[in-house]
């Protein structure tokens, strides 16, 4: 029981640490961001609190020290500096090490812990006192169609005389939802001139409510004629809301009509904090800026609270259980195929109807089971941010990593297997791609380089691109190296694409010196193989002096694929449908006409083909008319000759087991409706094997 709780704590802590890392990197860029400081503090506080609850006393004690420092930061007593972020990142790694070693009694190096704590205390300048507990989280309101409204409420001067108390209206408004109130006092006269019974104050109010604009209007219904009232919706908090930053301060003031476009441009031209300048230039009253700032904060808080509520409505399930579920669904799909086949053979209308119903349900079940395992790739992206940061420091380069499409979802197993190849590619971009700052400036580029990581859906695949604005690939160097290594003959004429693809050849590395970051010449071929094992493909394009783009295309899931079922003799094979372009007939005459060169004429184009019957040494004679399944692999069209094309098939992939692990050209197997086994062809590898055999 205790163990179970400890395990749950560890899982939570790992998640918090990942979040912490992201927050710290964000903090490095925006050291004044109070929200981020708050997030760091809360993460530390939670780790400390639950850590001591479940007996991880060393972690709790260590985290307490870091938390104390961030409490000081939170209270404005300590500035965020690069050193603080570095130390806290180190502390984060140390907590992780302590967690990793917690079960076997290890628990991280005490000396390292000591050094980090000393460093932090040194920064703080004294022995810090115990941290205060954070404020209790505000009670959660159930968000339904939430929206945020901006209200300007300016009562008439004589509103008090008529017996109305605007404060009761504000009170009513607060009952509608989360409400921020800023009184505008800028129009108050001095004591000598003030009419004590007149109303000079007016308000900017920000309300987030699920009750709609009319509910707000109802609050003011009795004073509507006696006041100036403006209600605007400024944000809608839907399920699909982008967690992007809220509007800029200037934009809010502009929308409110507190400032003109011209004034805004003048302020922006001075490159300072907008609010400060607007006030010091006398364009705006502080109260107006204050209320715009409150609006910004209000919307941010509402969004955060909403995210937190959503997070709380999820449950934690061990990954193995999901894998088991997906496996069971796979079996189910197989059995369902058998059922459909049997029903069709029996010609029993009732059985066919049931089989169709089962087929529909199975398809839904399959989709939702696979969906559960889908994870956004963003968490992997944020891990790379740390990698880029550390590497660029190590190499003395200035590199910024930007990401896009972090919400793109991929199967959990795919994401896990993609990690290493991506790390390698990013390392390559940083080490070989981006130049040193001096070289960049000399080439007329900004001193800091950019690595852009993007993910986007494309059909049943996801394309991940890594762009850098570095030196680009050196075609001559690649060529020279390939000739030196004997990969190509000295006279070879290659297109750019063919030339770039040489870097994936085994043992190829053009780095002049070997660094700890990348390159012992074992890199890119391994990367390519890893991507191909995921049934993906990789593509390089590059412009010398401008940069390099590497595109990795990966299928959404590894569990089930759409494939084309073909037959050779008695055996069935599966070809991934995504790779198949078309099927054409191949008659015996055609074969004779090509004089054993294995080339087919398809619409005035010569397409090489591989007779699979020969390749797999299957006994028997081929039929009079065979079929060529034409596939497209890495931009080249190649045909595979089979006896017969059966049709599309939902293929549940089963691995072949250890004994057959090294069989070339086969990536797995599947069970057919009649219970027999069909092999799934590994098209890129088959191609390689045949090319190698010919060379």
């Amino acid at each position: 029981m205790i163990d179970q709780h400890r395990q749950a704590f560890k899982e939570e802590a790992y998640e918090l640490l990942a979040e912490l890392e992201t927050s710290l990197l964000e903090l490095e860029e925006q050291p004044d961001d109070v929200d981020v400081i708050g997030r760091v503090f809360r993460a530390m506080h939670t780790i400390k609190g639950s850590g001591s609850m479940f007996g991880f006393d060393d972690i709790a004690a260590f985290t307490h020290e870091v938390e104390t420092i961030f409490d000081m930061v939170r209270n404005g007593k300590l500035q965020v500096t690069g050193r603080l972020v570095n130390l806290t990142l180190a502390a984060r790694d140390q907590i992780r090490a302590m967690l990793d070693g917690a079960d076997d009694g290890g628990g991280g190096d005490l000396k390292v812990s000591g050094e980090i704590i000393m460093g932090l205390r040194e920064l703080a300048g004294f022995q810090p006192a115990a941290a205060e507990p954070p404020e209790a989280a505000a009670a959660g309101r159930k968000p339904a169609n939430l929206a945020t409204y901006r209200i300007r409420f300016a009562p008439s001067r004589d509103i008090f005389i008529t017996g109305t108390n605007p404060l009761t209206l504000l009170q009513e408004l607060k009952e509608l939802g989360t409400c921020s109130v800023v009184a505008q006092t800028g129009d108050f006269p001095c004591l000598e001139e003030i009419d004590p019974e007149a109303c000079y104050v007016y308000w900017d109010l920000i309300v987030t409510t699920d009750q709609g604009e009319n509910a707000i209007r109802d609050v003011f219904i009795f004073v509507e004629d006696d006041c100036e009232l403006r209600i605007e919706q400024v944000a809608e908090h839907t399920q699909f809301e982008e967690p992007q930053d809220y509007k800029k301060l200037g934009m809010i003031l502009l929308e409110r009509g507190d400032i003109t476009t011209k004034e805004m441009e003048e302020i922006l031209a001075q490159q300072h904090r907008f609010g400060e300048l607007a006030v010091s230039n006398g364009i705006l009253d502080q109260g107006k800026v204050q209320s715009a700032l409150v609006e910004q904060r209000h919307v941010k808080e509402v969004r955060q609270e909403k995210q937190a509520t959503e997070a709380a409505s999820s449950i934690r399930v061990p990954a193995e259980r999901l894998d088991l579920l997906v496996n069971l669904v796979g079996e189910m799909v197989t059995v369902q195929a058998r059922l459909s086949q049997t029903a069709a053979q029996r010609e029993d209308a009732e059985l066919v109807a049931i089989a169709e119903e089962v087929e529909r349900l199975t398809a839904e079940l399959r989709d939702s089971a696979l969906n559960i395992r889908m994870l956004p790739i963003g968490s992997t992206f944020s891990k790379f941010k740390r990698l880029v940061r550390d590497l660029s420091v190590e190499l003395g380069k200035q590199i910024e990593m930007t990401t896009e499409g972090g919400e793109t979802e991929l199967d959990k197993t795919v994401i896990e297997k993609l990690n290493d190849p991506l790390v390698h590619l990013i390392r390559n971009s940083i080490d070989h791609g981006i130049e040193l700052p001096e070289a960049r400036v000399a080439a007329g580029k900004p001193a800091h380089g950019t690595v852009h990581l993007a993910a986007v859906h494309s059909g049943d695949s996801v394309v991940i691109t890594i762009d850098d604005d570095g030196a680009g690939l050196d075609k001559e160097a690649i060529r020279a190296k390939a000739i030196e290594r004997g990969i190509i003959p000295a006279t070879a004429e290659l297109s750019d694409k063919e030339l770039f693809s040489l870097v994936f050849a085994p043992g190829f590395s053009t780095a002049k010196k070997i660094s700890s970051v990348s390159g012992r010449g074992v890199g890119m071929d391994v990367v390519k193989r890893a991507i191909e094992l995921l049934r993906g493909s990789i593509d390089i394009s590059s412009v010398q002096g401008k940069g390099t783009r590497i595109a990795v295309k990966i299928p959404l899931t590894l569990a089930i694929i759409e494939s084309l079922r073909v037959q050779i003799g008695e055996d069935s094979f599966m070809l991934p449908l995504a790779l198949v372009d078309e099927c054409v007939e191949l008659t015996r005459e055609d074969v004779e006409r090509s004089h054993g060169r294995n080339l087919a004429h398809v619409r005035a184009q010569l397409i090489p083909y591989i007779p699979l019957r020969e390749h797999f040494r299957i006994q028997g004679t081929p039929p009079e008319i065979q079929q060529i399944v034409i596939t497209q692999v890495n931009g080249t069209r190649v045909g595979f000759v089979v006896d017969q094309v059966i049709g599309e098939h939902q293929t549940v992939i089963k691995s072949l087991g250890r004994a057959y692990r090294d069989v070339d050209g086969i990536s797995g197997a599947t069970i057919l409706g009649d219970g027999s086994v069909a092999l799934i062809l590994d098209v890129p590898q088959l191609l390689q094997a045949v090319e190698a055999g010919q060379a």
Binding site: F160, N165, P166, L167, L170, Q171, V181, V182, A183, T185, G186, F188, P189, C190, L191, E192, I194, P196, E197, C199, Y200, V201, W203, D204, L205, V279, G282, D285, Q286, G287, Q290, L293
Partner: protein
């Protein structure tokens, strides 16, 4: 609400400093009297301390007057400040009406805005 009461005295420790203690609840009915008292106290002193520790309520007219008094003090080169002795009623009223802020208004040239800081 308790009865509104004003009590003005000279600070024994500092010459030229008046302490105006406001107790009970400030309502629109008291606003005229409150304004007169503030004017008189400001007239008499270079420093005015408003003691709100025993205030049991304040409406918008009262809050407006406090703000106006501060403005007059700044204009006259005098110093006006508030002590509330941790009076939660006053703090909640001021926060609820949206008066609390991070920095004072444009006329707060002496950076002594009475609404800055406080319990926020």
């Amino acid at each position: 609400m308790d009865e509104f009461k004003l009590e003005c005295r000279q600070d024994p420790e500092s010459r030229g400093k008046q302490i105006l203690k406001i107790s009970g609840g400030v309502t629109i009915g008291d606003a005229g009297g409150f304004r007169q008292a503030l004017l008189a106290a400001l007239e008499a002193a270079s420093e005015l301390q408003l003691d709100l520790s025993e205030m049991t309520g304040i409406d918008l007219t009262g809050l407006q007057l406090l703000c106006a008094a501060h403005q007059s003090a700044v204009r006259g080169g005098k110093w006006l400040h508030i002590t509330d002795g941790g009076n939660l009623t006053f703090r909640e009223m001021a926060a609820g009406a949206g008066f609390c802020r991070h920095t004072g208004c444009a006329r707060d040239t002496s950076y002594s805005c009475i609404w800055v800081g406080g319990e926020q």
